[in-house]
Symmetry: C2
Subunit: 399 residues, 2 copies
């Protein structure tokens, strides 16, 4: 018989995927244009033109066996070099190419980091709301998820709760800023306080504690929002990055994990990253997309469309009387479920063909995640449905 | 502190990689053309022209967000459909698209399969010589490697040894045919006997036992060699396939694992594959290379060059007095180390700038793996060095 835990994980369908498939079936019945699917985080903006141009150029000019051949296990050295330079230029760091391990996307970066760091029974602290797969990844690596809440007013980290959650069993903290699903960005002040608490705990417990920074949404910020670079606050940091959102290449699975050059026992930690990559089967990330980064590492998809969507949706829903957290980044709006029951509200929304994800999946009840990586037209056309939904649950427009 | 096992795996450099890097440094000293590097299995034949043409066509014609967007976790349904049809047409099977999970290459297929099937302490039987990472993959999944030898005359499986190795703790058997490093292909007769022994053990122990067929070299066979398709002998089979060698795309990491449609509890086993893929971070294999397979799944790189290399090398070395197993597949020649000490012979070979991998890395002492995925010219020019090597270790040409 196969492994029961793996069977359960495979059979346990995600709420988001279920909603998405419900949407597909509804579209067949009421027409594509009458279903407003805000369930999934698949970028709606094309990759920068330079991306496809570069891919075609590589395919047309490079010799096949050299282009498609294996890179070394941690990745192509030219690629790792431009990425280190990019980090150093943007964030004033001191990263070396040998601090960077190329991966097959953000999920791979996270599982490699967790398997590299954890011992059986170690605790990993995560701030709710959080990407549901964190729990799966942590438990597979032998760890235990410990959840800390967020401040209700701005979804910043609950620092008192964080202090209380730290224990001798803590090995790492996952930080996801900009956050999926709330869109919140951790401020300089909060980052400073959070890392001070962690430094204090390192002394108190006499052990190294790691921050795993999950940063696929780093480039998706609006206005003058700045996303603090965690290595500038805390040295025992691993940054997990993916080009899925920044280059609008979610299906191509290319990213990296980098160990802060000044991390304690940096060589050992990087060796553990290499060992975990090897043991899990992640060596030599897809090479065509590695090589793309030599010229496209600093390209960013045109996120102004997301900014426009955010303003349109935030403005429209607030006007109808919904309470929303104002998101500074990512492409999600976190809306309070009127009445507080997110599951019931989600079902009600479905009656108006509005597909919103109840927040319970993200470790926090009472909210809905509304993914605004859709066309502007979808948002505009969805407003009458949101209006009916507001009426149906008895909320009224702001005065 | 990071996980000690992972640190050790990351620090423990592979013999093959060490040799390869020694070769690079030697080339700088004595010149590129004077070092004969037979150490690595990176295909030397370009991808079929249709591969790059198709990639360029996809990039030029498909809309960006559709082309590069997420596929479902187990892969694009059109891709899984053409692969199922390919298997059914070639091997007379009954595979459904829903039996196929697209992966990021053969290593991913293997780790997903092992994590899906194993429970802590389960034994996995492997026939030596074997790809060294099997041990790493099995142990990471909580299993224990149990080694069975090969017949010295043809490197077929030692069936008596296999029978003796089966126990109540056995969960799976890995079969790699054509074999890396010996190039041996398991015959119809041996496959029949091997699977009969396994069926008998299933009855004896009252449990399902799985074959994990690792088949990256399936298309690399010469002459009229046929590679038995294991599902035709045994239903509890998972086939791990990669296009690395068949399409000469080793760095692009695209392959699949498929559960035999008639496997016992097939739905549960496939759910476990999905669960393991999810927990390890392998969902949605790289999509551009998935989509490539819609039109290129049945393309094969021109392996006639490998066949020519095999004949040239086998003929040349045999003539010099070396004893070699005649390989029917893959691109490796397995040569007996004169004197029996493969490590010492490897060091001696290095003195003539011949880079050969001692077989101890593959779980069997006394042989050298000679990878002939090199240019024909390299083989021709290496012959004088092999001649000197033969003289140095006192073997003489055949009469």
């Amino acid at each position: 018989m196969a492994n029961e835990k793996m069977i359960a994980l495979g059979e346990n369908r995600s709420v988001i995927r279920d909603l998405f498939e419900y949407g597909l079936s509804r579209k067949k019945i009421v027409g594509e244009e009458n279903v407003f699917d805000f369930s999934i985080g698949n970028p709606s903006i094309p990759a920068p033109k330079k991306v496809n141009d570069t891919l075609i150029h590589l395919l047309e000019t490079e010799e096949s066996t050299a282009l498609h051949g294996y890179s070394s296990a941690p990745g192509d050295m030219r690629v790792r070099t431009v990425i280190a330079e990019n980090i150093n230029r943007r964030f004033g760091r001191n990263q070396a190419p040998s601090d960077i391990y190329m991966t097959c996307g953000a999920a791979a970066s996270l599982t490699i980091s967790l398997h590299a760091l954890l011992h059986e029974g170690d605790e990993v602290i995560v701030f709710a709301p959080f990407f549901p797969e964190y729990k799966v990844f942590i438990e597979k690596a032998g760890g235990k998820l410990v959840t800390v809440g967020a401040r209700e007013e701005d979804f910043g980290p609950d620092l008192e709760g964080f202090k209380a959650a730290l224990s001798e069993k803590t090995a790492a903290v996952i930080i996801n800023s900009p956050n999926n699903p709330s869109g919140a960005v951790i401020s300089h002040e909060d980052m400073k306080k959070l890392t001070d608490i962690l430094k204090d705990a390192e002394k108190r417990f006499g052990k190294d504690l790691f921050i795993i920074a999950d940063e696929p949404y780093r480039e998706l910020v609006y206005g003058d929002t700045e996303v603090p670079y965690i290595m500038n606050y805390y040295e025992n940091t691993l940054v997990c990055y993916s080009y899925s959102k920044s280059l609008s290449l979610p299906g191509e699975r290319i990213g990296y994990v980098t160990v802060c050059h000044e991390a304690k026992d940096r060589d050992k930690v990087f060796a553990a990253i290499c060992g975990a990559g090897r043991a899990l089967g992640f060596v030599c990330a897809p090479v065509l997309f590695q090589k793309l980064l030599i010229t496209c590492h600093d390209q960013v998809a045109d996120v102004s469309a997301y900014a426009k969507n955010r303003d349109l949706l935030f403005g429209g829903l607030s006007e109808l009387g919904f309470e929303c957290v104002h998101p500074d980044g990512a492409f999600y709006l976190f809306v309070k479920a009127p009445g507080g029951d997110d599951a019931a509200f989600g079902e009600l929304a479905k009656q108006f063909d509005l597909l919103l994800v109840p927040s319970a999946s993200f470790g926090l009840k009472g909210y809905m995640r509304v993914a605004y990586c859709v066309s502007e037209d979808t948002i505009r056309r969805s407003m009458p449905a949101f209006k009916k939904l507001a009426e149906a649950c008895g909320i009224s427009p702001k005065a």
